[in-house]
């Protein structure tokens, strides 16, 4: 990772080392300057200035460092390298490519090794899209590179003046070679650098109107997130945050995916690395890895780099958004990010807020989620960043600060529930507590793209589930036989909604992804059963006869069948026939 701006380098001396936070004296520094700490030149960042003391968080392990060792201020702020080569990469929290680190230092992450985020030797074929004499603005697209199956649009950096193209080159270049010269003499290579803590500018932020289709029934069907929207997925350990996030990374219809493993398990990142290259995008048929950037700063990697990882990730996401792509970003888990802030803050001996978190926790969270959105980019294209953050509340208790502060910002809440996961109801998203504030904004889309009666069927399903929850309270006291007959039917229909529609097995080759058409057909089939059932009940058929209708038992199998249509039609026909028999007998 290299850095922005150039100021004069200054040298200081280490005074104190206690974990990831160190103190230097006699150092001329500004907040968030990147510094090199100690003889091994470990990378760090200035986080506090107090009298002559400069306090630095270090992105690598500080064992063995002594007072008196040098500290050098680069005078630059923490930035990422942006350009062709990002896709399919896996980085640590400060954009060091993990594959390169393996080459340089073996299987374990040692320290003091720097590695640039992008390859500076690889040549890319650059195809210009402007010509000499064209007037270009900040953010303008200069040309493109076929990076993977994704076209990488090379842009003028957003923070420079407009100008007129004097020369534009075409052919094979490294990211450092000049591809564009302006009339005023300014020269630009493909690479640009951007400080991670600063949002990249856009022309305008807009309100989202299109859903991010994920292929997950409970999400698309009941609690959809919009492209450019924000969602939180809190839940106790083992409830399904990571699996849900990975499902989104695999199947959501975003064009680019940025996946941040922030303070979580090493094996989970390996799983993504092993699995993604062999998975295909259901729409394009291309390997999923080709649209993916991974950031892996696992729980046992330095906490300061964990703190930086979400900023590294969102900056990369914004960069692709600026090209006009729909990007989705998963952060697993934002609680570990918050804990990194807490750890650093407590080492700074700052006054703690709630549960020891720093008082600025809420501000940092909202600044982060605010970087999501559907935008008109500086070059006039439409792009979006959707952000889905996992939250890991201690003891699964949602009243804690990270969950609460997150819920104040995000528009979609997918509440995971240990009771559901324990009975292996997956995704273990509680349908009563979860919500999406995008329903109204997306209403028209569903109306047009799915079916004019989709919104009605969705509301019907929610009502049945709500009603079931009320009835269950009674059942717990008196048993189900004591319920009125129509309500016994409702209980059965609700069970079908839960077991057939809501439950979805991420590990089944077919069921793992369910397109909107199939979602609609499945829910509609359940509704068909319900309509038959209530009509039959009014005609005098008993609930036990209704529950015994055989054809409905075949419905769950639909999930596992790819070409489900013939089978579904058959089941619906049989259902009709069985009910006919029942009604005429009643």
């Amino acid at each position: 990772m290299k850095t922005e701006k150039t100021k004069e380098a200054k040298k200081g001396v280490l005074k104190r080392i206690a974990g990831p936070v160190v103190t230097a004296v006699n150092l001329d520094a500004h907040m968030y300057d990147v510094v090199k700490v100690g003889k091994e030149a470990l990378m760090g960042e200035v986080i506090k200035i107090q009298g002559d003391n400069t306090i630095i968080q270090v992105y690598e392990d500080t064992s063995g460092i002594r007072p008196g060792e040098p500290v050098i201020n680069t005078g630059l702020s923490l930035s990422v390298e942006l350009g062709p080569g990002l896709l399919t990469s896996i980085y640590d929290g400060i954009q060091r490519p993990l594959a390169v680190l393996v080459e340089k230092m073996g299987n374990f992450i040692e320290r003091g090794v720097t590695a640039p985020g992008l390859s500076h030797t690889k040549k890319w074929t650059f195809k210009p899209l402007v010509k000499a004499g064209d007037k270009i603005e900040p953010g303008s697209i200069l040309g493109e590179v076929q990076e993977t199956n994704i076209v990488h649009r090379v842009m003028l950096p957003p923070n420079v003046k407009a100008g007129v193209v004097k020369t534009i080159r075409s052919g094979d270049f490294t990211i450092d070679e000049i591809i564009c010269i302006l009339e005023d003499g300014r020269e630009y290579p493909m690479i640009q650098r951007w400080p991670v803590r600063v949002p990249r500018p856009v022309r305008e932020k807009k309100n989202p109107t299109i859903p991010l289709i994920t292929g997950q029934r409970i999400l698309d069907g009941l609690f959809p997130i919009a492209k450019g929207g924000t969602a939180a997925i809190p839940g106790p350990f083992g409830s399904g945050k990571t699996v849900t996030q990975q499902q989104l990374a695999k199947w959501s219809d975003a064009e680019i995916v940025v996946y941040i493993g922030c303070g979580e398990r090493g094996n989970e990142m390996t799983e993504v690395l092993t699995e993604f290259p062999s998975l295909e995008d259901p729409k394009s048929g291309k390997p999923l890895m080709e649209r993916t950037v991974l950031i892996a700063n696992t729980s046992n990697m330095p906490v300061a780099a964990r703190e930086a990882s979400v900023y590294t990730g969102i900056t990369i996401a914004e960069y692709f958004r600026d090209m006009g792509y729909d990007v989705s970003l998963m952060a697993d888990s934002t609680s570990r990010w918050a804990e990194a802030m807490r750890e650093i803050s407590s080492r700074l001996e700052e006054m703690p807020g709630e549960e020891g978190y720093p008082a600025y926790l809420a501000a940092r969270l909202s600044e982060f989620y605010e970087r999501a959105g559907l935008v008109e980019t500086l070059n006039g294209a439409s792009g979006s960043v959707s952000v889905i953050g996992a939250v890991s509340p201690p003891g699964g208790d949602f009243s804690e600060p990270v969950t609460q502060n997150t819920l104040r910002i995000v528009k979609v809440f997918w509440a995971l529930d240990a009771k559901l996961s324990q009975r292996r109801h997956f995704p273990a998203i509680n349908w009563l507590n979860s919500y999406s504030l995008y329903l109204d904004a997306l209403h028209d889309w569903y109306d047009k793209e799915v079916s004019p009666d989709w919104n009605k069927i969705r509301s019907w399903a929610m009502e049945v589930l709500q009603k079931e929850a009320e009835l269950q309270e009674i059942v717990q006291l008196v048993g189900s036989d004591a319920l009125p007959e129509s309500e016994q039917v409702t209980i059965e229909v609700a069970r079908m909604i839960r077991e057939i529609f809501l439950q979805q097995n991420a590990y089944d080759a077919v069921d793992t992804f369910c397109d909107m058409k199939k979602q609609y057909d499945m829910l509609k089939a359940i509704k068909l059963f319900a309509d038959f059932a209530y009509a039959a009940q009014i005609a005098g058929v008993s609930p036990s006869q209704i529950i015994a209708v055989k054809a409905k038992n075949e419905l769950p199998q639909i999930k596992f069948i790819k070409d489900y249509k013939p089978e579904l039609a058959k089941i619906e026909k049989e259902m009709d026939a069985e009910f006919n028999t029942l009604r005429s007998a009643a």
């Binding site: 493993g261 398990r265 090493g266 729980s299 407590s346 199998q557």
Partner: protein
Amino acid sequence: MKEYRTITKIAGPLVFVEKTEPIAYQELVNVVLSDGTIKRGQVLDTSDELVVVQIFETTTGIGRDSGVRFTGETIKMPVGHEMLGRILSGGGKPIDGGPEIVPEKRLDITGAAINPYARGMPADFIQTGISTIDGTNTLVRGQKLPIFSAAGLPHNNVALQIARQAKVPGSTENFAVVFAAMGITKEEANYFMQDFERTGALERAVVFLNLADDPAVERIITPRLALTTAEYLAFELGMHVLVILTDMTNYCEALRQIGAAREEVPGRRGYPGYMYTDLACIYERAGMIKGKKGSVTQIPILTMPGDDITHPIPDLTGYITEGQIVVSRELHRKGIYPPINVLPSLSRLMNLGIGKGHTREDHKKVSDQMYAGYAEGNDLRGLVAIVGKDALSERDRLLLEFADLFENRFVRQGYDEDRTIEDTLNLGWEILSTLPVEQLTRIDRDLINKYHPKFRAGAKKE
């Protein structure tokens, strides 16, 4: 080596030294008492004015007159293949009367993080012979799968049964056990040692013992010594190493004690805010490495204070490990061994190690179906207590019976009973076949036709 006599403060396990030369963070320190005994410690905080040293033993006998020697290096562990069969103290010194270990290497005990890019994906099914693990919470090589237990429950038996029976079917590769005791009683330790000796496992084991009456602070390094040894055996000598760490609750108590002595702002229930990261640096030292033969599989054991799974120790552990095996007081009271409650138990790597080519194609779905049936049957028990069995529908009555059957046939087994995975899965089908076929919604038709006792080829002929 220079010796300082500039101790200015001693508080709990911490010794504060004023010094003259620059001391490294995490440096190993020897404190020399007036009678010549040496106590070891480690630098927690260093500056040009003051060095804070955490002593691994009691600070009894340390005073202003004690000498402090800084060794100039971080803590290293001498390792070698000769360690197999040896018993060491929680601080890494031989206590079995045998010779000092001849080191082949000296390794930093902190252990660097495995680069996620270098990790190999765990996929080898380990058969423990215990149905509730193999069938429903499968362990795979390179996994970290803790046992969540509580005072008075037979977690040691479960751990020993796993250690004794664990094998990868069809493989005869080099294996070893690393056993690290932290703060357990002499009696418990003996129990483990006798079992190791009885089964001959000791020859292939390295044992670290920090017992209840050993210094609490030493527990901070015991698991690190054990894991450094395990990594050496696995990644340098190519062995498949099973690491048992018990009891992690005592480890966390020691961590809390140090935090308090340093007057840190405490996190939940007085445990340090960095406990998640600290535990992760232990638990993440499990796994496989691409291109290397060996593996480190971890089974940490912890006792949940007050049987509370939301207590910070099990909670943070569960957030780091790849699942958990929960030992239940209720099942234990019913006289069921092993009293593993599958509902809160989980193995996250299960899917990688099961199915066609690993165990059997029906594995996942049989497991899911049993979970669903048992969960529902278990709920109904509460209802029956209120409304009586007669108020149940036929469907519910069968589920209720299924729950009993599950506990008595599937969960219950002998301490020495070693079930193959086929036995376990067939047993699963057997109890599932008491439910109507159309209720098996988690299993696809093809599998039902192939494995369900009523439809299996043999059964059809009737």
